[in-house]
Amino acid sequence: MQNEIVISDIEREFIDLYRENRNMFEAKASAQVNKVRKSGIRDFERLGIPGKKNEDYKYTPLQPLFRNGYRKYLEPKKVEFNLAHVFRCDIPTLDTHLVLIVNGFFDKKNGELLRELPSGIIIGSLAAASHEYPELFEKHYGKYASHQDGLVALNSAFAQDGFFLYVPKGTIYKKFIQIVNLLVAKEDIMVQHRNLIIVDDNAQAGVIICDHALTPHSFLTNSVTEIYTAENTFFDYVKVQNEHNNAVQFSHIFVNQEANSNMTSNILTLHGGVVRNNVNVLLNGEGAENNSYGLYLVDQEQHVDNYTFIDHARPNCISNQLYKGVLDDSATGAFNGRILVRKDSQKTHAYQANNNILLTDEAKINSKPQLEIYADDVKCSHGATVGQLDDEALFYMRSRGIPEKEARLIMMSAFTHEIISNIKTDPLRTRINELVEKRLRGELSACDNCAVKCY
C-alpha cells in the first residue's frame, strides 16, 4: 500500500542532522540503543514523515507541523524553572514518587540518575539504565515499538534519554510513580524522548505522567514509550496532557502484554495545540486484558487525534476501549480505533466506543472505528456517536431552577465521568475530577498549574 516516499526537505534536514550528530549519539548510548537507532534511521529514510496519503494520519496532516523551524533539542542544557511551581500539579493526598523529565532529558535535581526504591523498583534515566542493565535492554528495548510509522522510526534514530522503570517480579507497589514531562526553553524546540517500562511477573504498579509546557514557545514532542507487562501483572498508566496551544505532541505508546496481564491506560487531554496519541497494544498471551480510556476536552483551534490499535494475537483476551470528547470553539478532533482479531484468537471479547459532543458549528470531529476479525468465536462491537447536549435534559434542569450554564456543566461533567470513574486510585481520581471540572468551567488555562501565567 505504501507508495514511494519522496524525501522532502523536512526529512532531509533530519537525516543530515542525524549524520552530523551520529558520533555524539553513539558515544553516549549503549549497544542496544544504537542498534535500534541504526534501524530507526534506515526506516525513517524509507518511510519519511507520514504524508497526506497515509490512512492512519488522514485527519492530522503532519507536514505543516514540522515547518516551524524548531531547533532540535539534542543536548540537555541547564534551564531555570521554579520547582515549587511544578509541584502545584502534584497530587497532595497521593503519595507519589516523582521523576522529572526536562525537555526530554532526565533531570537529576530530584535525585541520582538511577534509584532503587525499597521495594526493589528501579527508576531513573533511560540512558543510565541502558548502560547499567544491558540484558534488560537487549530483551526489551526497541522490541515493541514498530517502525511502520515514520515518526516512531525517527524517535528511535534520535532517542537519547527519557525515563526507565523496572518493577521486579512479585513486587506490589501501591504508590503511584509520577513522571512530569516539562518543556522549558527560550526558543522553539523539538524534543524526542524515549521511555521504557518493564513490569515483571506477578508485579503491580502504576504511573501517572503529566505533560506541561512552562514557557510560551512552540514545542514539538515526539515521544515513544514501550511497555512490557509480563504474566499475571497489573499496570495502570495515566497520562494528563496539559500543554499550551503552541505545543504539538505526538505520543506513541507500545504495549506488549503477556498472559493474564491486566493493563489500563487513561489518556486525558486537557489542553494542547495539536495532540496525537497512538496507543498500540499487542495482547500476546492468553487471558490478557487491556482497557484503554481517553478523554479529550478541546477548544479554540486545538486539535486532538487519538489512534488505537489493539491486536488480539492470542485467544481468550479481553479489550475495552472508551474514548470521549467535548469539542468547543473551532476545535477539531479525530478518533481512529482499530481492533484486529487474528485467526485462531477464539473467545476474544473486544469492545470499542467513541462518543463526542460538539458544542459549536465550527467544531469538527472525524471518527473511524474499525474492526478486522478473522476468528469466529468472538464477541466484538464498536460504536461511535456524535451529538450535542440533550435539549430536553437541559430544559428539565432549568425548569428546576438550575441556571443554564450550570446545567450544561452538570451534563458535561456527567459525560466525562464515565472515563474518570475508571481511574482506580481514589485521591488521583478526585484530583483528576477537579482538574476536568475546572477545565470544563474554562478556569484551567494551559499554564495554570505551573502558576506561570504565560499569556
Binding site: 485462531d344 460538539l358 471518527s367 474499525q370 474492526l371 478486522e372 476468528a375 460504536g383 451529538g387
Partner: protein
C-alpha cells in the same frame, strides 16, 4: 454434532450454482483489447450522437491516467484489460419489436432463469428490461408504461430517442472521472437501462432489469440512469446471474439516480453473479459504482441490496442528500462463502438541512471468505439538524473467515446527530441448543437464525425479491456452521 455439521457443510458447499449454464447463441463479439478505436467502434455500433462519443473518449483518456484503487480490503488478482472483449451481443436482425422476434434460445434462457419475457403469462405487474452480455434484448410492458409517460427501456434506445435527457443527466451524479471503474464504464459501456418518471407519476408497476453475462472472455459494462421528476415514485429491481467459468469475468457497472423534489426512488438489487467454485476459482469481479442524488426537498432514495454472488464485490451505493429534508436509506445483506471477498457499504453525504439517513448492514461470512463493511457518513457544515443512524452487524460462520468494519464518520456542525454501532459475533451455541431442544434440526435452526438476522433488510425488499433472497441465503449458507 461436529460431524453432522461438517456433513451438512459439505453437502451445501457442493451445492452447484444453479444459474451456471451457458446458452449457445450467435453472438457478435469484438476481439479482446481496448484502445480509442474500440471506444469509437462501440459508439459507432450503437449509432450514437456525437456528444456520446465525446463523453466516451474523455472518459477513456481519463481512465488511462488512473490507477486501480487498492484501498479496499480485497485481494484482487491482476486484471489484464487488454484481454477482455468490450462488446458482445446476441446477433439479431433488427431490434425485437414483439416477443416473437426475440431469439427463442434467448427466451428459453430467461425462462430458465425464471424471468418471463412473455407479458401475457405475467401475473404480477413487473416490467422487465433483460440485458444479455452487453445488450438489452427485450423490455416488457413498454406500452403500458408509456401511457403514464414513463420511459423505460435500454440505454442505447434512450440515447437515440431521448438524447436531450441523456445529455442532461448522464454523468451528472457519477462523473466519468469519479473513479477507475466508473471511467472505464463511461468509456465502454454498451447498454443498460434508462428510466424516466415524469412529474407527479407513480409507477403502476415495479421496474426491473435483469443482467446476464453469457459470452466468455467479455466484460459487462452497463449503465443505468434513473430520473425521477418532482413528486414521482418508482420501485426498481435489479437481478443478475452468469455462467460458471474457470476464469474471472469483469463486471463494472454504473448506476445513477436523480431524485427531484418530493420524489422517491426505491432501488433493490439481488446480486447473484457466479461466485466461483469452492476453491475460489473463477467467478465475477463485481466493481460497481452506484450513487443517487436527492436533489429536491423531501426527496428520498432507498437502496436495498442482497449480495450473495461474485468472487469479489466492490460496491458502495451512496446518497448525496442535497435537498432539505431529504432522506437516504441503505439496507444491505452481504453473504460471502468459500473464497468470496466483499468490500461493500455506503456513503451518506448530508448537505441539505434536516436530512436523515439510515444504514443497516448485515454481513455474513462463511468458509474462507472475507466480508467488509466500509462506509462514510459526512455531515457538512450546512446540514443542520441532520441525523444518521448506522448499524453494521457481522455474523461469522466458521473460523477461517473474516468480518471487518471500516466506518468513517465526519461531522462538521454541532446540531447533527450521528450514531454508529457495529457488532461481530457468531451464532450462539445456546441459541442452537434452544432450537434443537424444541425439535428443530441444527441446520434449520441456523437457517432460522440467519434469516431472522437478515430480516430487517429483507423486509425492505419487494415481496417477490424477498422470497428469492431468502432462498438465495439458504443456498449460500445452509449448514455452513462448522
Amino acid at each position: 454434532m461436529k460431524n453432522d455439521q461438517d456433513k451438512i457443510l459439505n453437502e451445501v458447499t457442493e451445492n452447484e450454482y444453479k444459474y451456471g449454464f451457458y446458452t449457445d447463441i450467435d453472438i457478435e463479439i469484438f476481439p479482446p483489447g481496448l484502445n480509442e478505436d474500440v471506444v469509437r467502434a462501440i459508439s459507432a455500433k450503437k449509432e450514437e450522437p456525437d456528444f456520446m462519443l465525446e463523453f466516451r473518449l474523455k472518459a477513456y483518456r481519463q481512465w488511462l491516467k488512473m490507477e486501480m484503487p487498492n484501498w479496499a480490503h480485497l485481494k484482487i488478482p491482476e486484471i489484464n484489460y487488454q484481454k477482455i472483449s468490450y462488446y458482445a451481443a446476441p446477433k439479431k436482425n433488427k431490434g425485437p419489436g414483439s416477443l416473437e422476434e426475440v431469439d427463442p434460445e434467448l427466451r428459453k434462457t430467461f425462462e430458465k432463469l425464471g424471468i418471463s419475457l412473455d407479458e401475457q403469462k405475467r401475473l404480477t405487474g413487473v416490467a422487465v428490461d433483460a440485458i444479455i452480455d452487453s445488450v438489452s434484448v427485450k423490455t416488457t410492458f413498454q406500452e403500458t408504461l408509456a401511457e403514464h409517460g414513463i420511459i423505460f427501456g435500454s440505454m442505447s434506445e434512450a440515447i437515440k430517442e431521448h438524447p436531450d435527457l441523456i445529455e442532461k443527466h448522464l454523468g451528472s451524479v457519477v462523473p466519468y472521472s469519479d473513479n477507475f471503474f466508473a471511467a472505464l464504464n463511461a468509456a465502454v459501456f454498451s447498454d443498460g437501462s434508462f428510466c424516466y418518471i415524469p412529474k407527479g407519476v407513480r409507477s403502476p408497476m415495479e421496474l426491473s432489469t435483469y443482467f446476464r453475462i453469457n459470452a466468455a472472455n467479455t466484460g459487462q459494462f452497463e449503465r443505468t440512469l434513473i430520473v425521477a421528476e418532482e413528486g414521482s415514485y418508482v420501485s426498481y429491481l435489479e437481478g443478475c446471474t452468469a455462467p460458471m467459468r474457470d476464469e474471472n469475468q469483469l463486471h463494472a457497472a454504473v448506476v445513477e439516480i436523480i431524485v427531484e423534489k418530493d420524489a422517491y426512488v426505491k432501488y433493490s438489487t439481488v446480486q447473484n453473479w457466479y461466485p466461483g467454485d469452492k476453491n475460489g476459482k473463477g467467478g465475477i469481479f463485481n466493481f460497481v459504482t452506484k450513487r443517487g442524488i436527492c436533489r429536491g426537498e423531501r426527496s428520498k432514495i432507498s437502496w436495498t441490496q442482497v449480495e450473495t454472488g461474485s468472487a469479489i464485490t466492490w460496491k458502495y451505493p451512496s446518497c448525496i442528500l442535497k435537498g432539505n429534508n431529504s432522506v437516504g436509506e441503505f439496507y444491505s445483506v452481504a453473504v460471502t462463502n468459500n473464497h468470496q471477498q466483499a468490500d461493500t457499504g455506503t456513503k451518506m453525504i448530508h448537505i441539505g438541512k434536516n436530512t436523515k439517513s439510515t444504514i443497516i448492514s448485515k454481513g455474513i461470512s462463511a468458509g474462507f471468505s472475507n466480508n467488509s463493511y466500509r462506509g462514510l457518513v459526512k455531515m457538512t457544515k450546512n446540514a443542520e439538524n441532520s441525523r444518521n443512524f448506522s448499524q453494521c452487524d457481522s455474523l461469522l460462520l466458521g473460523d477461517k473467515c473474516g468480518a471487518h468494519t471500516f466506518p468513517y464518520i465526519e461531522v462538521d456542525n454541532h446540531n447533527s446527530i450521528v450514531e454508529h454501532e457495529a457488532t461481530t459475533s457468531k451464532i450462539g451455541e445456546d441459541q442452537i441448543f434452544y432450537c434443537n431442544q424444541r425439535g428443530i434440526s441444527t441446520e434449520d435452526a441456523i437457517g432460522l437464525i440467519v434469516n431472522g438476522y437478515a430480516k430487517e433488510v429483507f423486509n425492505k425488499l419487494p415481496m417477490e425479491f424477498a422470497v428469492e433472497a431468502q432462498k438465495l441465503l439458504q443456498i449460500s449458507l445452509e449448514g455452513s456452521v462448522g
